[in-house]
Amino acid sequence: MNPTTGESPSPSRSNEELLEAYRELEQSYHDIQTMQAQLIESEKLHSVGRLAAGVAHELKNPLAVLRMGIEVLQHSNASEEAKKSLLDDMLTAADRADFVVRELLDYSAPRKLSLAQHNIQDVLDRTFTLASAQAGASGVRIVDARTPGLPPLHLDANRVQHALLNLLVNAIQATQSGGEVVVRTSSKTLTGLGGNVGDSLMDRFRVGDTLVMVEIEDRGQGIASDKMSRIFEPFFTTKPTGKGTGLGLTVCKTIIEMHGGALALRNRVEGGVVATVVFRV
């Protein structure tokens, strides 16, 4: 009832108003949907643009060496020694371009996994074997702190091995000679209580999920806080020039997420970085 006039509102008018309000809401909803689609498209284009710029930069540098090198070999009277050194530089440039393209193909490879039941310990055994030469050459010891008896996982073993090897090699490269890299594994079931709450890495899993974790911990200098937020961006690297394409971690994250898992990096209070990989059983 209208408190001023004492009359009841006209039901038909009220319905018209409701209908109008509904139409406005529906229009707003469509507008928001259109805007959202435009934003997604714009972000996609932006991502493609960034990726293209990254590819261009990473390929043009080795191309610049090859282009100028060919001119020198065609026309100059450089000494044999200088030409030999130049050919070495050109070979390195060609290898680098090839490496960038291979990494890029890994990143953009068709999203098909060859899944089978595997024990993560077996995958890690092979990863350790592959990394042992680099660890030995760098004077870094790999400390095996794995927990036995973890539940088996549905994995594409080759791809997961590729990701774990990448993380392990990063850790070895970040550690000074004489230092160590620690690899831990564990398993837990999410209860929604205690340590799980507020852990962004666990946000994507549900209460009741059983998870298997792999942690690779180095004793390096850690990652500067202003760089940490960009660490998974394609072509972003904290390594010295020529030592990394900036695609390694991007590829790792893609592989882990294709398995429904999660990957996170964080600095340790004591120094160094921990890479944590989580798989759902």
Partner: protein, 130 residues
């Protein structure tokens, strides 16, 4: 006839890609017209410029620790080097963009670049034909 050492154009190359600076140095050296110094650590560019007194500087843009813009500004801040032409030599621009001229107030050349174009650029800024 090649110019004597004191008549050669002194070119400073600042680029973290040592393979690239070695190749460009070899190419320019082979013409007999240039005296080339390479710097692969951006943070050492100003000290090298003060020591070498280049007639022209070619500088990469994307480098760890210090980018090309900061290097160029730091060189500009040195009174004895403030008039030295600084050219960005970079892989972040495309060939079709090179004609448009400037990045941050400095001219640029896109990588990969030919020796002829590099020499033309040097001579253009030295005010003489190559």
């Amino acid at each position: 006839m090649n110019p004597s050492a004191e008549n050669k154009v002194r070119v400073l190359l600042v680029d973290d890609e040592s393979g690239f600076t070695r190749t460009v140095k070899l190419a320019l050296d082979s013409t007999g017209k240039y005296d080339v110094e390479e710097v692969n650590e951006a943070t050492e560019a100003v000290a090298a410029a003060k020591r070498f007194h280049p007639h022209i500087v070619f500088c990469d843009i994307v480098m760890p620790e210090m980018d090309g813009g900061d290097v160029a500004a730091a060189i500009r801040d040195v009174p004895s080097l403030s008039k030295v032409p600084i050219i960005f030599l970079t892989a972040i621009v495309a060939e079709h963009e090179a004609g448009r001229g400037m990045i941050g107030g400095f001219p640029f050349l896109p990588k990969p670049v030919s020796l002829e174009r590099l020499m033309n650029c040097i001579e253009e800024h030295m005010g003489r034909p190559s």
